[in-house]
Amino acid sequence: MSTRILEVRNLVTSFKTDRGIMKAVDGVSFHVEKGEILGLVGESGCGKSVTSQSIMRLYDEKNLVRYEGEVLLEGRNLMKLPEHEMQHICGKEIAIVFQDSLSSLNPVFTCGDQIMEALIIHQGMSKKEAKERAIEMLRLVGIPSPEKRFNQYPHELSGGMRQRVMIACALSCQPKLLIADEPTTALDVTIQAQIMELIVELNRKLQMGVILITHDLAVVAETCNRVAVMYLGQIVEEADVNTIFDNPRHPYTMGLLQSIPRLEGERARRLHVIQGTVPLLNQIPKGCRFRPRCPYAADICQSEMPELRQISDTQFVRCWHVEHIHNGR
């Protein structure tokens, strides 16, 4: 158990909206080991970002949100901490990198200043130490002539460079856990390849845990050790990366994998299609949430919600009919 950095147990995140209470995350459990990259995948709106922001308790707890469940960082339940202690954990022990680096970096401070700030606040470094460390971080993330870049403003850098600065910021305090929320979605493939390589390399070198959030299954296949697939606020399948791709057992995972055009092999005349669309949060179906789109749905799927069940050493599936469904591929 000692290698478990993060354990999330039965996390529920409900938003108070004018249309009533919306449960964006509904009973999510998973863990991240030291030195491991966990992929969190699923289509838009399934709750990936809400899950990660809930881990850091980033939402307004007075007016907007209600959390249930436990988030254990090396055994300490973050949900029970007073808010000011939480602030100390964010940035120092858990760091997050967002998709949109331009809006996450402060435009009026230089790149160097932003990294130094974290070091001075969280690590209590002197200005001089912080500057040295910041330059070292910029070099670590592969920014050429970091002394020069140190004094540049975010808008003076390309998208790929900015994303590197964000990662340098996030890693400067050597967090135990890095959450990367679509870190490369806005970037070109050649730059995406560099950034992902960087994240994998730093994950190995620093032995930190990583949660990689993405909707790109190919990126997951290349970088993750384990994968959790989300649908409408729940995890529907979780397994090690090879099993997810070789032997997916939830109809949604199977559908997703069949829908992606590939760079290798035969091209079928038509792409596989998952019927229908993701329902809205206030129209969540009873029973299995995937039922209206599932080709294997039966009566029980409509009346009762399946639990996430362990079916092998490394695989968990939320489906009544796992035993009867096999991937056609």
Binding site: N242, F245, I260, R262, L263, R269, R270, H272
Partner: protein, 364 residues
């Protein structure tokens, strides 16, 4: 207009319209006949021919004088054959959208010839373009939401397209619209919806319906599936394929996603900094990429198979500015195999096979 008319139709035909395009099971569609681009040259029917097209955007200084040009498209020649999909791939800022817009005169070309159905559109006025050619050449966008009037109902949006282009008799237009909604996998009840009431995939269907209802020859598709989720993306790709089959449409399909390009296009052109640096039949391009940039691009695409470990060619440096492109081969500042000659002269276009050409000194 009568809501009843539509409701009546709904009552009588609602059942038939349940068979959405996207819901036809895999394998039920007939196999496509050979696309035009894979036929021998003599049997091909050219719909668009562009020669040495340039599109420069002037950059003005403080005094309003022109101080330079963004060379967004710089000497591109491309031919589109009837019924084919030509895929245009390349990284952000390389000029894909600008080329697409210039080819159908949404932007005026700075230089070059663009012949569509025998007419050189660089020689006619914007007004003439609008009245005589616009319905033959249509465009769809990445985010259809911004191109759909939020205050108009879907039915009105499609009807307006017909009215502006003077297609169909007023009495027929409603039927044409309802028919088109059905063809793109929307239901009759969507006729009275507003754009914000639709999902991203449904809005893309509306954008596509608005283009195709005018019965065009060419549709420029600018990243039409890039903003969509995996499952919706495959629905829209299938719709594009079905419509092409049914109507013999020609697509210029712009994307930065190599897997989607490979799936959908018959021929593919790779763009870098305003130039098409390689062009081939899609299977040939992916099996045997010749241009160093194409090789870099392909090596960077992740594979959705954890057992495939790619040998990645890492590209050094940033994309140069199109305001000040490098002399000689525009890729020489980042090319892993650049030679002295590459800094001096733009490489000639080499035909490496009848259906495959590349602009690189290595093959000269």
């Amino acid at each position: 207009m009568s809501e009843r008319l539509v409701t009546n139709r709904l009552a009588t035909e609602g059942h038939a319209s349940q068979g959405l395009a996207s819901e036809i099971p895999v394998g039920e569609m007939p196999m496509n006949e050979k696309p035009a681009s894979e036929k021998p040259v003599s049997e091909r029917d050219v719909v668009l021919q562009a020669e040495h097209v340039k599109k420069y955007f002037p950059v003005r200084g403080l005094l309003g004088n022109v101080v330079g040009n963004v060379k967004a498209v710089d000497d591109v020649s491309v031919t589109l054959y009837r019924g084919e999909t030509y895929g245009l791939v390349g990284e952000s800022g390389c000029g894909k959208s600008t080329l697409g817009r210039t080819l159908i005169k949404l932007l005026d070309a700075t230089a070059g010839r663009i012949v569509i159905n025998g007419i050189d559109i660089t020689k006619i006025s914007q007004r003439e373009m609008r009245t005589t050619m616009r319905k033959k050449v249509q465009m769809i966008f990445q985010d259809p939401y911004t191109s759909l009037n939020p205050r108009m109902r879907i039915g009105e949006i499609l009807t307006e397209a017909l009215v502006i282009q003077n297609v169909g008799k007023p009495s027929e237009r409603m039927d044409m619209v309802i028919d088109m909604l059905d063809k793109v996998g929307l239901r009759i009840e969507h006729y009275y919806r507003f754009p914000h009431e639709l999902s991203g995939g449904q809005r893309q269907r509306v954008g596509f319906a608005r283009a195709v209802i005018l019965n065009p020859d060419i549709v420029i598709c600018d990243e039409p599936v890039s903003a969509l989720d995996v499952s919706v993306r495959s629905q829209i790709i299938n719709l594009l394929l079905d419509m092409q089959e049914a109507r013999g449409l020609t697509y210029l399909f712009i994307s930065h996603d190599m897997s989607v390009i490979r799936y959908i296009s018959h021929r593919t052109g790779v763009m870098y900094l305003g130039h098409i640096v390689e062009e081939a039949i899609t299977d040939e391009l992916f099996a045997d990429p010749r241009h160093p940039y194409t090789q870099v691009l392909l090596s960077a695409v992740p594979s959705p198979d954890p057992h495939i470990k790619k040998n990645r060619i890492i590209l050094e440096g940033d994309l140069p500015s199109p305001l000040n492109p490098p002399p000689g081969c525009v890729f020489h500042t980042r090319c892993p195999g650049a030679m002295p000659v590459c800094k001096e002269a733009y490489p000639p276009e080499i035909q490496v096979s009848p259906s495959h050409k590349v602009a690189c000194h290595r093959y000269a």
